[in-house]
């Protein structure tokens, strides 16, 4: 008797296969897709801002180019992610400054000169590559011009005279 009742219950029950309602999921994905397409970057060079600094904001819309990256935070100066100099709250240690020229940062110059040497060697062997002395400067927005002037002066001495300041786009 009980067995017959169970069979009846199983027959009445809905089938084991069922359809998931995916309409709302598709809606969600379409919204996500539109947002991602809108913020999709077509620039060939991607600069990732460091968490050690806040870049200044600007209305400039010029995309970055693939050149040497110089990063100046309050604590250190980096060349292509390699720490070359320590700073104390944006102030240069006197041991890194040239005794005869207070604008000249010797340690930074040594590293930049090496980089320039490498680029010049590549340029001399490959006609398609040209050393144009361009450098992208990523610097904290609160750093004083006093420090940036020293960095730019030193980079100019090493052959990097075309400085491009990295900024956050306001658009």
């Amino acid at each position: 008797m009980a067995r017959r009742g169970f069979k009846k219950y199983m027959d009445k029950r809905s089938p084991a296969t069922f359809k998931i309602q995916v309409t709302s999921m598709v809606d969600m994905f379409v919204i996500l897709l539109v947002f991602l397409l809108k913020s999709y970057s077509t620039s060939p060079v991607q600069l990732t801002p460091s968490d050690k600094m806040t870049l200044p904001a600007s209305t400039s819309t010029k995309d970055p180019v693939d050149v040497l990256k110089l990063m100046v935070s309050k604590d250190a100066i980096y060349v292509e992610d390699k720490k070359v100099m320590d700073l104390k709250g944006g102030i240069v240690d006197m041991k890194d400054v040239d005794a005869n020229d207070t604008q000249f940062l010797r340690t930074l110059y040594t590293e930049l000169d090496q980089q320039a040497g490498k680029s010049r060697t590549i340029a001399s062997k490959n006609e398609e590559v040209e050393f144009d002395g361009k450098v992208i400067l990523q610097a904290d927005r609160s750093l004083p011009y006093e420090l940036l002037k020293k960095v730019m002066y030193t980079s100019m001495m090493a052959g990097y005279s075309d400085v491009k300041i990295a900024v956050l786009s306001k658009d």
Binding site: V22, F29, L36, D63, E146, Y153, S161, V163, I165, D171
Partner: protein, 180 residues
């Protein structure tokens, strides 16, 4: 045999198969997530003056060229120095409270551009205590006019016809990097 009313209603309503569409979207989303730029970084050109020889040669070539210098100070504000035919004159833009007067600077830049439409270069001389964000803001005010503002008109060198542009002084150069 006639079809019943119920079966006609069943034919009219059908379920769209969304599974393939979902498959495509699920494939595209990770790809876009990898290449998306949530923070858009751009660059501002600030060519540092080249070697002294080159600068002197260029200065010799452009003896009659009007030179515009912009000094930035946290204590006194902005000061334009215009050198024309051996004579210099200053235009001061005082601080707005304790901050630099960016609106005043922009208005004065547009006025200067109207007076000297063929000049595109400004030498920027910030004081040592001016922070980078204020330097960049200054450069923005000097470089372009906003989308709602009247455009700058200058004559094309080749055709002689007036050309409209939103660029005021696009070539902003740090003038005192060499220790000047």
């Amino acid at each position: 045999m006639r079809r019943s009313f119920g079966s006609r209603v069943d034919d009219a309503t059908f379920e769209l198969n969304l599974a393939p569409m979902l498959d495509i979207i699920v494939s595209i989303v990770p790809m876009l997530l990898m290449s998306v730029a949530f923070v858009h970084i751009t660059v501002v050109d600030t060519p540092v003056p080249q070697a002294v020889e080159k600068a002197m040669a260029a200065a010799d070539e452009k003896k009659d060229q009007v030179q515009i210098l912009l000094a930035v100070s946290k204590e006194t504000g902005y000061r334009f120095t215009i050198s024309e035919k051996g004579e210099t004159r200053d235009i001061n833009i005082a601080l707005k409270g304790k901050d630099l007067d960016l609106d005043g600077l922009h208005a004065e830049s547009v006025n200067l551009k109207k007076k000297y439409p063929d000049v595109f270069k400004v030498e920027l001389n910030p004081a040592e205590n001016v922070p980078l964000n204020e330097i960049v803001a200054t450069m923005d005010q000097v470089r372009t006019v906003g989308p709602k503002e009247a455009k700058v008109v200058f004559n094309d060198v080749d055709t002689g016809k007036p050309v409209e542009t939103n660029l005021v002084f696009p070539d902003v150069v740090f003038g005192n990097v060499n220790g000047g």
